[in-house]
């Protein structure tokens, strides 16, 4: 396999890159929604991120690549194994194409084996392939509603339950859901928006220098992917080091009562539906603190994450065009000066 485009070499799009890194620091943040124009490097960034993450250990021969370290998160077959063999594999990134059928997503009866040997076997779907990794849905807003519902249900429960065609199977499916799309082409229902942890607006850069840099880097990469990746390896290694260390530290970051209260006040002022917004806001602020190597969440962290964590959760009049970010900024100024 040829080398991936290096994460550090993606020009611009700092907000999206940071949000992606934070979902890697704390997967419990719950996915990312990147809305914006085409060709702004969304899918490149997701794939590059997976290459950036350290390889994971998995049980060999398991279609869900279960984690040998945690029996709790394993599938039934793996739990019953004594001393399973393990292998090292890269974090999976699975593309969910538009128009994917339910069969393909959740898995279905294995036609091949059913036809050839009359066996009733389960053919794992995309959800199984994405376990412990990333599921990337381009144009999530154009995806059929019942598929989106299904994805979000599984993403929330971490388990895929299949009850169809005489099959009765449940297997772990913990993944970070990354959705992207162009809001001009259709909107996501609010209840779906709410299920995504963070959201970012990906804008096409408007300055000549960034444009030139994007195209220049892409051409250099296409000419010789290996050499180009090697050239950026030190930057990527540094990022990886920060990520790994942040993952270790994220649980021990201090969230003072004052910060918690302020987060609550902000969510109340913005009238976000449900508690998910507040939880995500705190998780994201904590991950940001850990990523930047600090020990205590500050008001500034809260302010920086308020946009990505709450922007898509504001109760919105469909005909009101006031930008969500504007409303958040206003609330931030009113509350915290």
């Amino acid at each position: 396999m040829t080398a991936r485009f290096p994460f550090s070499a993606i020009a611009g799009q700092d907000e999206m890159k940071r949000a992606l890194l934070l979902t890697a620091v704390d997967p419990m943040i719950g996915g990312l929604l990147a809305f914006g124009d085409r060709g702004t490097g969304k899918s490149t960034a997701v794939r590059a991120l997976a290459a950036l993450l350290p390889a994971m250990k998995a049980i060999e021969g398991c279609p869900y690549h279960c984690d040998p370290a945690s029996t709790q998160a394993q599938c039934e077959a793996c739990r019953n194994k004594t001393k399973p063999k393990t292998k090292s594999m890269p974090i999976p990134v699975v593309d969910l194409p538009l128009g994917a059928t339910e069969d393909r997503v959740v898995g279905a009866l294995d036609l091949e084996r059913a036809l050839a040997s009359g066996e009733k076997a389960f053919e794992p779907g995309l959800l199984a392939a994405a376990n412990r990794g990333y599921l990337y849905v381009d144009e999530v807003n154009l995806l059929e509603d019942h598929i989106v519902d299904l994805l979000l249900d599984v993403a929330a429960s971490g388990e895929n339950v299949v009850e169809r065609e005489g099959l009765s199977i449940r297997h772990p499916a913990r993944f970070v859901l990354i959705g992207s799309g162009n809001p001009e082409e259709g909107e996501l229902r609010p209840q779906l928006l709410d299920r995504f942890g963070l959201s970012v607006d990906v804008r096409t850069p408007t300055d000549v220098a960034t444009w030139v840099e994007i195209a220049r880097r892409r051409l250099a990469y296409e000419a010789d992917p290996e050499a180009y990746a090697a050239q950026w390896a030190p930057e990527d290694a540094e990022l990886q080091r920060k990520l790994v260390s942040a993952r270790k530290k994220v649980e021990s970051v201090i969230l003072s009562d004052e910060i918690l209260e302020r987060a609550a006040a902000l969510c109340l002022a913005l009238q976000t539906d449900g508690l998910r917004g507040q939880l995500t806001l705190m998780r994201a602020a904590r991950a940001l603190t850990a990523f930047e190597g600090r020990k205590q969440v500050t008001l500034d962290d809260l302010k920086r994450m308020a946009g990505p964590a709450l922007r898509h959760r504001l109760r919105r009049n469909p005909l009101d065009e006031t930008g969500s970010q504007t409303r958040i900024d206003r609330a931030l100024t009113e509350l915290f000066g």
Binding site: S43, L98, L111, S117, I214, A215, E222, N317, P318
Partner: protein
């Protein structure tokens, strides 16, 4: 206007030849070309030219738009598998086209799921395994190449233009891609190209990546080691012209100043070429400007919106009846085409034949299933409703009333949002009717288009009804249910040909209304006149429409009526 001098002849046929050369030289990095024409001599000439440059060394695989996902990606060959009793895989068309080209026929009819698969394959890491020659045969606004594919193709051309000169000559130098990689691209030209792209309102940096590559290839084709201005002009014409979304504004003074400052800060005095970056960008821009098709920019907004609105609809229309909705029983079909296999029904069909089949294939164990036995589930899906608002913006509809009507429409829009219906807006005034908004789910845009609606002039009701009819047809063709909502006083006074003649206009509008009624479009007339029961009532009768006089109808009442009408339209099959 500065014209590049040492480039190939810069007309359409020269472009076509050049595109063939570029695609043949580098099938893996340019995505491909959209051929904007139907089958005909132009397309044949283009393909012949392409084959000439590839010297038939690379595959050119023809793909019809009804190709199955299986065939495209490869997978289980069901017929062979069943015959032999063991899994037989087939190789997909995309794999077969490796390093060559896929020729996609009627690409505008390609459903979104297949387009997405192709796009995914094209994104494959650092190069596209094949280039795509997409024949876009769309005639009007209601069809277009799926946006996810159009975005990934470097070029778009109509090969019917200048076909006489479309001839291939000579052959390509060897190892042209390696030579192109070695070509240097001066920073000045990089910047000029980026500026040009931004000035033309191109949103995707992909265009610039394509343009950079084209400059390098073009330089290599002309045996140069460095990219020059002519290469940049060619690249901009080929890659940018068809992507332009705005007419470049003449450079304002402030921009000039910042440009000057930039140049002062740059130590480029050693450069013998006295061009500033901005001037170069201007010349590249001029080259593109000459290439913009006439009337393109006038159409840009409408078609761009149409394209965006539509890209979401394909999936729905194509998938209707396969995977969701009310079960309708099973019928014969291929379980790999996205439908769900009905296992019990399949076995039931296969069961009576087992003894017979066993005799012909004594060595096989298990149930012997043939391809004909497959039964797939069918579902009946409720179809999506599209509300077409036909708004009278003429002088006769008092502006005051129009404001009231807009209030009602906004309430209806909010309701549409909840029900995920689509909306379209047609406005008519003075001499013609105009589609302000193609069917979309973006209600913000619907609201904006209404808010910006100007008023005054005559009442060309006939034109409005006919536009509604054609839009309703479009909606039906994509699998939706149209519902027309007329906001007017019904006092037509402009005839079909645009002359003011009240009596004839009324007659014409009535017959147009009957045509709309005959096509089965459900409609609703909201009377805007001060004294109801007049012309609008006549219109409503001709349309067999629900009639709602505004003086008696509060905004909420109207909204309720429309809501009810839409519901019944959606349930109707």
């Amino acid at each position: 206007m500065t014209k590049p001098t040492d480039a190939a002849p810069r007309d359409a046929s020269g472009d076509a030849v050049l595109i063939c050369k570029l695609l043949a030289a580098d099938p893996n990095h340019l995505g491909g070309v959209a051929l904007a024409s139907g089958p005909g001599p132009g397309r044949d000439a283009f393909l012949a030219c392409y084959r000439h440059y590839t010297q038939d060394q690379t595959p050119l695989i023809t793909v019809p738009s009804h190709v199955s996902v299986d065939r495209l990606e490869g997978g289980l060959d069901i017929a062979a598998t069943l015959a032999r009793g063991k899994p037989i895989k087939s190789r997909g068309l995309m794999a077969t086209a490796e390093n060559g080209a896929l020729l996609l026929l009627s690409a505008e009819r390609l459903s979104i799921d297949k387009a997405a698969r192709i796009a995914l394959a094209m994104d494959d890491n650092h190069h596209t395994p094949f280039s795509l020659i997409a024949c876009d045969e769309s005639r009007d606004d209601d069809e277009a190449l799926p946006a996810i594919l159009a975005e990934r193709l470097a070029f778009r051309i109509n090969p019917d233009q200048g076909i006489a000169a479309l001839k291939a000559e000579g052959s390509l130098p060897k190892n042209i891609t390696a030579a192109a990689d070695a070509v240097t691209l001066p920073e000045k030209i990089e910047k000029a190209l980026a500026e040009t792209a931004l000035m033309l309102g191109i949103a995707s940096p992909r265009a610039l990546i394509f343009a950079f590559r084209v400059t390098k290839l073009h330089a290599a084709l002309n045996h140069r080691k460095s990219v020059n201005e002519a290469d940049a002009a060619v690249a901009a014409q080929l890659v940018f012209a068809h992507r332009a979304t705005q007419m470049p504004v003449e450079q304002s003074e402030t921009e000039d100043q910042s440009e000057d400052q930039n140049n002062e800060s740059q130590p480029d005095s050693s450069d013998t070429d006295s061009d500033s970056g901005g001037a170069l960008a201007d010349r590249v821009l001029d080259a593109v400007r000459a290439h913009l098709p006439e009337g393109l920019l006038a159409k840009l907004d409408a078609s761009a919106f149409a394209r965006q609105g539509r890209s979401g609809t394909g999936a729905k229309a194509a998938k209707a009846g396969k995977t969701r909705g009310r079960p309708l029983g099973a019928r014969r079909g291929d379980p790999r085409s996205g439908a769900r296999l009905d296992l019990v029904e399949t076995l039931r069909v296969a069961a009576p034949w087992q003894t017979l089949r066993r005799r012909t294939q004594p060595n096989r164990s298990g149930v012997l299933v043939h391809k004909d036995d497959f039964r797939v589930r069918r579902f009946k899906e409720s179809r999506e409703t599209t509300a077409i608002f036909v708004v009278d913006a003429s002088g006769s509809s008092a502006i005051r009333r129009l404001a009231e009507a807009k209030g009602a429409v906004e309430l209806i829009l909010a309701d549409c949002y909840v029900r995920r219906d689509r909306v379209a807006v047609i406005a008519f005034r003075s001499k013609s009717a105009e589609i302000l908004l193609h069917p979309t789910r973006s209600l913000q845009r619907a609201k904006r288009s209404l808010a910006e609606l100007p008023g005054g002039g005559g009442t060309p009701l006939t034109a409005a009804i006919e536009t509604t009819l054609s839009l309703a047809d479009q909606v039906k063709r994509t699998g939706g249910v149209p519902l027309a909502v007329f906001l007017t006083d019904g006092r037509a006074n402009i005839t079909r040909d645009g002359t003011p003649d009240k009596a004839r206009a009324l007659g014409e509008s009535e017959s147009a209304a009957k045509a709309l009624r005959a096509s089965g479009v459900k409609s609703l007339v909201i009377d805007l006149s001060d004294r109801p029961e007049g012309a609008a009532k006549v219109l409503a009768t001709a349309l067999a429409a629900l009639y709602l006089p505004l003086p008696h109808a509060e905004s909420h009442t109207i909204s309720n009526h429309v809501g009810a009408a839409m519901k019944s339209a959606g349930e109707r099959r």
